[in-house]
Every structure is written in C-alpha cells, then in structure tokens.
C-alpha cells in the first residue's frame, strides 16, 4: 500500500504541518514502507471480534460535583508566547 505525494500533502494539511519539498519526498517514501507493514492487520478476518478501545473495563467514572481551586489567570497565561489583557494573543486569521 503506497501513499502518494498528493496524499502526503493532504494529510500534512489536515495535521497542520507545513512540510518543505525535501520532507514531502522523504515522508512519502517512509510512510509508504510503514503503511505497507501495518496493513498486515487486514490479513485477519475479524468480522465477529469486538474492538478494544481501552484495556480496562472502567465505566462511568464520576467526580464529586464540588468546586475546588483551579489555575489562577496568571498561572494559566504564564507560558503564553504572547498575552494581552488576560487573554492569549495570536495573529489575526
């Protein structure tokens, strides 16, 4: 199962990665080889098997509905590359 250059560009766009030409070429080759290896899972007929999303049977875990301290505004913004008036600041869309 080979992945094409166009598919790599499409996936990179979905994943919000701006790849340069060299990366696109390298990843097309490497991802093709990896996809070929992982496609092995399709050899098995598992029509009647239930999927496992999580290794433990843990269901409906509720937290007590009690207020507790959360991060202060200063802490929440402490690592922001840019901030203004108590907000994270980003370039305009």
């Amino acid at each position: 199962m080979a992945i094409t250059r166009d598919e790599v560009l499409h996936v990179a766009r979905l994943a919000r990665l701006e790849l340069d030409d060299e990366e696109v070429e390298k990843f097309t080759e490497q991802l093709s080889a990896i996809l070929e290896a992982v496609a092995k899972v399709s050899e098995l007929d598992l029509a009647d098997v239930e999927p496992t999303a999580h290794p433990l049977d843990v269901l409906n875990v509720w937290a007590a509905d009690e207020p507790r301290p959360s991060l202060s505004l200063a802490d929440a913004l402490a690592n922001a590359p840019e901030r203004e008036a108590g907000f994270f600041k980003v370039p305009p869309a």
Binding site: A37, V41, L46, V61, A93
Partner: protein
Amino acid sequence: MIDTLRLTAEEGLDLVERREVSAAQLHSAYLEAVAKRDAELHSYLRTVDEADGDGIPIAFKDLISTRGVETTAGSKILSGYVPVFDATVATRCRDAGLSLLGKTNMDEFAMGSSTENSAFGPTLNPWDPERVPGGSSGGSAAAVAAGLAPWALGSDTGGSVKQPASLCGIVGLRPTYGTVSRYGIVAFASSLDQIGPMTKTVRDCALLYRIVAGRDPCDTTTVQLPEPVEIPEREDLTGVRVGVPRELNEAEGIQPGVKELTERTIELCRELGAEVGETTLPRSVEYGLPCYYLVAPAEASSNLARYDGARYGLRVEGGDGVRAMYDRTRDAGFGDEPKRRIMLGTYALSAGYYEAYYGQAQKVRTVIADEHAAAFEDFDVLVSPTSPTVAFKLGEKAENPLAMYLSDVLTIPSNMAGLPGLSIPCGLSGGLPVGFQLIGPQFSENTLFHVGHALEKAIGFDVVPRRLQ
C-alpha cells in the same frame, strides 16, 4: 564517601533514616556524580541544585510535569515550557520525601527506542558510549545504570521502560494500565502510556511502585490496586507456573547471545522450583507491532494537536495570520519521528481508511488480549527476552524507522493488552546487558516482583557497568 555507583535506593533510604547521611548530602553526592560522568553520557537535560525533600533523590523522565522546572518531553516545541502544576506522580514522590534530582533525556514525545530522537541530542549507554541506551526512557535508564540517580521514573507506551532497562542492565517495570496516574504526563498514546519505575533492584522497583501507584481522582482511567504492594523477600519459585510463549522466544531477529541467556534464565526458574512449560501466542507477536503502529500514532495525532503555538511552547509566526502560525510552529517544533507518527495517525483516522486501519487494529487488540488471557489460564507469568538485541550502535537504525520499530517487537504485544511487564538484567552478551521480560495478568505486580527478585538473587548480576568500576 557515598558510592553512588553501588548504592541502591533501599540502602539510601536506610542511610537517611539512620541519619548517617542527610538528604542534602545525598542529593549533592549525586550531583557530583552527574558533574563527573554526565558530560559524556548526557542522561540529564537539567538538574535541580537543592534537595527539596528529606528522603533520597529521584530523577524524572522529562515528560513528567514538575512545577517550576522546565519540562520539554525532549521536544523543541516545548522548549522553555515551565509547568505551573505537578504531575500526580511528582506530588506522590514529593509526599514520600523524595527530592527531584533532575529531568532525564528521552526520545521526543517518547517516540523512539534509542533516545536519538531527542531534540537535545542523544544519551549514550554507560556500558559502551558508542551505543544507545535504548528508549524512549533512555536518560532515566542511563542515569540509574551510571549511578547518577538511585532510581528514576520513565514512561512506557510500547516498551519505553522495559527496553532501555534491558539495554542498560537495570530493572524496569511497566505497570498494569490504570494503576499509575497519567495526570500531568505529556501524553503520547493515552490508552497505552504508563509511568514506571527504573531501578537497580527489584525490591527498589516495588518500593517505588508502592509510592506512585493507586487511584487518582484527576485521572479517571486509574483504579485502586486490588491488593497492597509487597516488597519481595522469597528467593524460591516453588508453585510458580512459568510459561514460555514460543513466538516471543523464537521471533526473528533475536540475537544468539540473547537467546542463550534467556534459555539459561528459564532453566534457572526450573532450578528455583518453578514449573516451566511452553505456551503460544499465535497472533499476538506477528500482529502486535502493526497493531501498535496504527493505534499509537492515531492517538498521538490527536494528543499532539494541542501544540499550536497559541498557549505555551514554541511559536513561529509567518506573515499570513493564525493558520500560518500553526503550520509553521508545528513544522519547526516537531522532529521527524513525531511528524511521521502524526501523519500516519491522521491518515489511519481519515475518512475512507478508518475502518481498514484504526478499526481493524482495535479488533486485533481484542485478539491479543484474549490470547494472553488464555495463556494465563495455565501460567502465572510468561517469559521472553525483553529486547531481541543488546544495545545497538548510535546511528545504526536512525535512518530506517521500520528497523527501529522492531526493537519493541517483544514488549509491544503485552502492552496492547494493558498487562504489566518487568525487565530484569540476566547477564552479559559480548560485554553488554541482556534483559529478561516477565509478563503477568493485570494487577499481578506482586507476582512479577516475587519472581523477579528470586531470579535476581540467583543470577547475581552486577549492575555497575564494567567500564565505570
């Protein structure tokens, strides 16, 4: 004079308790060892000058959030990030009096098996600095092996505690999924990630597991341990049923020296009184690796979506607004391996491919869990080599992602089923350590500690790398 090369955590705790040394003295002794030996090995990304506890020190893999101490997960995209809260495991260690010695190097976002994927340069193996320490918890493994920390925490998604423990000649536990909190851990693949102890002895491993394990209200995937952690004492294996899965022990690529030491250790189980028998995991080993490389990247592609340059970490701006900032920040901030896995995961989850890849992999996961459960009807533990090879040379697999992925072929299957696994050193092959893997049913850590401890005593492995003696 404290010999940090030999001191176990248990001995250190004893010295502190008897007031023969202070916490501050012990902390300084390790920092001196770091100053002396870590310029070569690069097991730490940063150290902490002052002891902040009254017990012994500990090192954390750099994906464990530590309030006020930079936490990068080995990535440029988190360079300069200083957490404003502690991970639950950090809180538990602090509550137990342990002082943070420093943060250890790792493959970026725990993606790798050699620590060469760190954005801050590789860690070298204390047994042979031309070789890798394994990964992704290579910094923690090298630090413990070289006497630069009495013990450390790592994290294991596909084998990232067990494999570096094996390659560095120390003990490493990947706990049962859900027994150790992931709150405050930089996430890679949430249904697989587990924090685990990396230590010189099995008893140290049990002591540290006892400190970090247990339900955490901040991580709803955690559960209460069904029984208290026992520090192992028994040195015989009478009544223990040891299963040898054919596929894990005859997998392609297992080096002859590794195979020989594994067989000798299995023989030792018999001599110690265990009943040993052959068993089988017909599809778990063959399909485990492909299953893992669909599930883990899919989860990673979602978890790593948060790194966008908006709220913390690196930001690279273009001239074209917020979208360009996202794209450029992520391209500049992530190394090749996270990019590969984000793309692989995004592809496997995308419309038209979801069922064939991710959906099918989740079903394979059920098959793997069922096969292990069947084997545990007849056996208490399953054994195999931890890694098919001893430590390999730096650069040997760096250009071939698939070859690197094979380093975890023996650790991945049980991880997919959420099972605990312990790696203990079982000897040297060509002067390099070989690890022996013990796998148990969920919540069987006490059995793994018992068997691991009995073997450790019988093997008498000297954990100090020969070139440092």
